[in-house]
């Protein structure tokens, strides 16, 4: 479903170029649950950005369902982004919209009817525990609530793939495992999950495939991986 082929990414914004990814290749099949682990700066977020075409690779090709992302036209990119639900590390919430509107917006983008929106949004908000906060704006939420809102937004339109970049970074242990259980449940329904994290406990409990990144290179790719860093 997703294939990274000899991907390198070099950032040229600072005085000395920064190599974020170096010749990275892997494949993720439909319905897989893959964790990408690595220390801070290992290249996890860059991988996520490349997958949704927020960044372009310096070298190599990324395929989504056999189609080269690098050769996609703007309309195809737009379609690709609608098929991937992303929980960003920095949440990327719409600050001018309240909790409910943030989630609704995703449904509106995919062209869902008002009827579907009013049925699905309260369900998802209840699932992430934000139903009673639906009229609050992101600036009025705690870090954990923002994270849960970001998760609700990634789930609402039932995408084919969910990419979660450190989705539990601001959550306590109880909420962390609530979210992980939620991701497992969604995975059980056939959704492909890509989880970027550096949380040892999560990885050891999941027992799924783990890709380990270090300094932009894959150093290990195990089917029932462990946290080795």
């Amino acid at each position: 479903m997703i294939k990274f082929q000899n991907i390198s990414k070099i950032y040229h914004s600072s005085k000395t170029p920064v190599v974020a990814l170096k010749d990275v290749s892997f494949e993720i099949k439909q319905g897989e649950f893959v964790s990408i682990v690595g220390k801070s700066g290992a290249g996890k977020t860059t991988l996520v950005k490349l997958l949704i075409s927020e960044e372009k690779p310096s070298r190599g090709e990324i395929f989504f369902k056999g189609k080269k992302i690098g050769e996609m036209c703007p309309a195809d990119i737009q379609y690709l982004r609608k098929r991937i639900g992303v929980v960003h590390q920095d949440y990327k919430l719409l600050t001018s919209k309240n909790v409910k509107e943030n989630v609704e917006y995703i449904m509106q983008v995919i062209g869902a009817s008002d009827k579907d929106i009013s049925r699905d949004v309260p369900q998802v908000l209840e699932m992430v525990g934000l139903l009673d906060r639906q009229t609050n704006f992101p600036e009025e939420l705690s870090g954990g609530e923002k994270q849960r809102l970001a998760i609700a937004r990634a789930l609402i339109h039932r995408p084919e793939v969910i990419v979660a970049d450190e989705p539990t970074g601001n959550l306590d242990l109880y909420n962390t495992f609530e979210i992980i259980n939620l991701l497992k449940k969604i995975h059980g329904l056939g959704t492909t999950i890509i989880l970027a994290t550096h949380n040892r406990e999560i990885i050891e409990r999941l027992g799924h495939r783990v890709i380990t990144l270090e300094k932009g290179k894959i150093i290990r790719d195990d089917q029932e991986g462990k946290f080795i860093l």
Binding site: Q78, H88, S96, Y105, Q108, V109, G111, D114
Partner: protein
């Protein structure tokens, strides 16, 4: 499609009601822009009025030899109307009428009337007073009279005596017109730049949000649309506020202004030209707003 359009309108209205601080800035600057355009429009009207008034005061007179029969003078009058279509009016003043006008003008001035009596016969010449549509035409008309088929009937043409004044007036009106256009262009350019930069700064605060919308797969128009709706609301409000200010202040100040502006009725001019002015204001405000928002948002859509 219709659902999307409805949502775009709703988001636009939401953006307008929720960003009151930023909205106030944009409305203020757009009101200043529309105000200036309205002022320039009225100024143009005033300068046209003053130019026309000055031009109306200029004419040339053709004096005919004493023995020229009236029929021939009237023939010249007819020919002048045919001449290039630049002649606005020609008034025939007979010898008798000229004397009558002199007496009327100097009623109560015995010295003048005594002098006229001493001369005995009517010393005045029959003449044609000619007004051209444009002061530049006086030279051509005079040339036609002094060198054309009627040259033997004519004793003198006053143009050559007043040439300096007419030329100066022409230069002055032409300079005023050019000056008004240049001033309008400079001010309009400045106001466009200021408005564009204010809107650009407003959009800057939504930069992150626009990128996020793009990352979740929203189309350019789904993102741009609400901003365009907001710009239309700002434009309409700016036009409304400007007309309210002009309407109210002209109602109060017009009698005083009329004295200052040599009888130019600014309020009547404003009312008579209101439909045209309103369309100019709308085209300017909406065009400027939509173009500025469109360009400012475009920059952040490239994600």
């Amino acid at each position: 499609m219709l659902t999307n359009l409805k949502r775009i309108f709703r988001f636009g209205w939401q953006g307008f009601t929720r960003n009151k601080g930023l909205g106030f800035q944009v409305i203020f600057i757009m009101t200043v822009a529309v105000f200036l355009i309205t002022f320039l429009f009225l100024f143009q009207g005033l300068s046209d009025f003053l130019i026309t008034q000055a031009q109306k005061k200029v004419d040339i007179s053709v004096y005919f030899h004493r023995e020229t029969p009236e029929e021939e003078i009237l023939e010249v009058e007819k020919e002048l109307y045919k001449f290039s279509g630049e002649v606005e009016s020609v008034d025939y003043v007979s010898k008798e009428k000229a004397q009558e006008l002199f007496i009327q003008k100097h009623q109560g001035e015995p010295l003048y009337l005594q002098a006229l009596k001493e001369v005995g016969e009517n010393p005045f010449l029959a003449s044609l007073n000619i007004k051209a549509k444009n002061p530049t035409q006086y030279a051509q008309i005079s040339e036609f009279l002094t060198h054309g088929p009627f040259k033997n009937l004519i004793q003198k043409v006053s143009y050559y005596e007043n040439k300096k004044v007419i030329d100066r007036l022409f230069a002055l009106t032409s300079n005023i017109k050019t000056g008004t256009i240049i001033l309008s262009l400079i001010l309009a350019g400045l106001v466009i730049l200021i408005t564009f930069n204010t809107i650009k700064l407003t959009i800057l605060s939504s930069k992150e949000e626009i990128s996020t919308m793009r990352l979740v797969g929203a189309s350019s128009w789904f993102i741009r649309g609400p901003f365009l709706i907001q710009s239309i609301i700002y434009g309409v409000l700016a036009v409304f506020i400007t007309n309210l200010i002009f309407g109210v202040s002209l109602n109060f100040l017009n009698p005083k202004l009329q004295i200052w502006l040599l009888d130019f009725n600014l309020l009547t001019f404003f009312q008579e030209n209101f439909p045209f002015l309103l369309s100019v204001q709308f085209v300017f405000a909406l065009g400027l707003g939509i173009a500025s928002f469109f360009l400012a948002v475009r920059k952040y859509l490239e994600v």
